[in-house]
Amino acid sequence: MTPVLSVRDLSVRFRMRGGRHVAAVDAASFDLAAGECLALVGESGCGKSVLASALLGLLPGNALTAGTAVIDGTDLLAADERTLARTVRGRRVGLVPQSPAAHLTPVRTVRAHLEETLRALTGTPRRELRAAVAEAAERAAFPPGLLDHYPHELSGGQAQRAATALALIGDAPLLLADEPTTGLDRDLVDRTVDELRRHADDGRALLLITHDLAAARRVADRVAVMYAGRIVELSDAGRFFGDPGPRHPYARGLLAALPERDFTPIPGMPPELSALPDGCAFAARCHRADDACRAVPRMAGGVACHHSGEEHHSEEPVRA
């Protein structure tokens, strides 16, 4: 089956003052099929959101990109602004934003948001707008009684549904959810990601960017772990969260840090993206680091680690 989204060697560097560069994303590659949910996990500042911005053509002017990200025959990295605005945003890629309350225009009602988006993306004539708004709200389970409310009159969960309703209007084959559950409580997180999953089950591809491992576990088919701008592991979600568990030492440490597991942090902090070491970016924090780690590990069999072939990780205790 042809994937909905095909990303190959996607890199994003920011040019800084004094000729310095920040390598925010380095050689990311993955495919995403219709009906599938890929969770991209990693800590804040690892490059997850930059990757999302690259897919929407929303990078700032000092960004340099390389590689390809193809959806429906269009390379998102090579497309000009006109193509992005007219055929990509909302139409091929629907964005479910990080903080819906800030994403919505504060002086306009939810109905006004939906009407504007319907007119722009589907050309719905004025006399049919009312019915189309009701239908769009229903697809995201937004309560029809709240359509005439302003964003500040909505709870976090309601605002999230309003933003999702907007993202679904263009029938985009790819839904991009960038930290959609930040600041929500657990019940609301579960409801939000379950609803996103439902939209994937309707035949969309879902890229869920999150630092919430419980949310990823709940709905993802596959998990991509990002560390210091690189995807270091790409695994089936069942194997990642269950048996045999993650294979990259960073991913194992991240999972072990959960309060329901060992609750022990990975020692140290990630390197600065402006001063990445020459070799494996995780080596300084890794108890398995040796001379081999002076070279950047290549992604092989879904994991980028010089030591992933060594069969002793499931029984070895995770070091604090």
Binding site: E43, G45, G156, T182, D185, R186, G253, L255, A257, F263
Partner: protein, 220 residues
Amino acid sequence: MLELHAITAGYDPRAPVFHGASLTIAPGEAVGLLGPSGCGKSTLARVAALLHRPDAGRVVVDGTEVRRWRHRAPRELRTAIGVVFQQPRTSADPRLRLRDLIAEPLRATGRGDLAAGRVAELAAAVGLTDDLLGRRPHEVSDGQLQRACLARALVLRPRWLVCDEMTAMLDASTTAALVAVVEAYRRERGAGLLVVGHDRVLLERWCDRTEEWADRVRTP
């Protein structure tokens, strides 16, 4: 003891967010307060930190009843309580370098001469490098900024610490790291701890006891 007796509070006296909330924390004890979004638990945390005047009820800190709030609260009460909020971005002065952010409570209480030593000690504990200490908030990640906010909360060596959703924005490893710093401080100084949050698994793993919000308030 840090005692909250029958607190009613909110932002409009005619329509309080909650009524009659009571909670007592002993020195050295870690108490979790678990409740859903919007229930008022953060408002209660602000009352406990003397940052919000309740509409009714009493707050008693180590035997002294609190009569004045926020900047009017007596310094010896204010400085007895450290606070860490959910959003490090909105709780940090964007103009201050992290080392000055951490030292600010010392300078504000006339003990700026202790700043260099205390900042170095706390930076090591929370894992901030010298390079990071020299940066301003927009130049660091959420996790790094929250490390600085925790250091700032501990710099006056408070007897009580209030953590309001301290880790909600953070990844699993940074969460575990910051909780470990709080726990080391609690063991070392015998400080009491109020942890407000919505993550049952986290609170039950972290705290000595976890209270349900619904059991601590009176239904009006």
